[in-house]
Symmetry: C2
């Protein structure tokens, strides 16, 4: 796990370009990809599907905005949610592993965070976000503390998710 802070504006166009790099990496390795998104609410799936031909590797995924859907759609254990909270490294990893299994994907990326402006606490401030990726060999998870507004934090999280996915695919 590493920390990162980000403040500069993020352009969706640049993220679509990054999604194109992800697509090329996935197609070159013939792997299928699924997504499990909480705080981004579907933004990562939207970006991946802006690229023509994405249906050749992107099978879809879940938008698990509520805890109930994290359990129902991704089989995140209630115990993990209760013990660590929805915004935690443990839940991010459980979401990624759960998406891989539930959707029969080779690789899955998952994000969970507090986009803001409300929902933060002293222990878990607005902007705190965990991004995880899982494949048959294991998983990676990274912690971020974004400093932007709701919209910026979503874009920053999507970018981090796409980057982690790209590195895992190319890695």
């Amino acid at each position: 796990m590493t920390d990162a802070l980000l403040g500069e504006p993020i352009d969706q166009i640049d993220l679509v370009e990054l999604a194109g790099v992800v697509q090329a990496a996935a197609l070159a390795r013939a792997v299928s990809v699924a997504t499990a998104e909480s705080c981004t609410g579907g933004l990562i799936g939207h970006l991946l599907t802006e690229v023509a031909g994405s249906s050749a590797y992107y099978i879809g995924g879940a938008i698990t905005y509520s805890d109930a859907l994290k359990v129902a759609s991704l089989a995140v254990p209630q115990e993990t949610l209760a013990n660590h909270g929805a915004v935690s490294a443990q839940v991010a990893v459980a979401m990624a592993e759960g998406a891989r299994h539930a959707f029969h994907a080779d690789v899955a990326v998952a994000v969970t965070g507090i986009a803001g402006p409300s929902g933060g606490s002293a222990a878990k401030p607005v902007g705190l976000t965990y991004v995880a990726v899982a494949d048959a060999a294991g998983h990676d998870v990274t912690r971020y503390q974004w400093a932007g507004d709701r919209s910026h934090n979503k874009l920053a999280t999507a970018r981090a998710g796409l980057e982690l996915l790209r590195r895992r695919l190319e890695g």
Copy 2:
């Protein structure tokens, strides 16, 4: 069912404003909302969650880009997919009904279409899209034939989904 054609540019900012109207309508009626997205790939969920406070009514949903996920996540019958094709009024309604049940939502909106540039046929050209909404009282479904590029067709579909949802909520 009605047909509609759309060519003018669509701004995501305007769609976030529409998502705010949906949110106000859902909160006023205390109903929960789920999404089931094929061709938009998560764009509707992204737009809904651009509005602060969306977690008070939006529980999440599924991005069912592949047919396999339409069956696994939304219980769309294999027979419906085989008989009518993934881009059909029947599948759009089955996705909306399936999302309502699978995610225990009061209302669900579903979209399925051919964003392009490939994937079209004489019978089902690029831009053909079905948008459905379902609640305890029944469902609505609308057919569209968009004339834009991939990105435009996704935005037009998201706008149609948000509009259908708004009208159903405002009743």
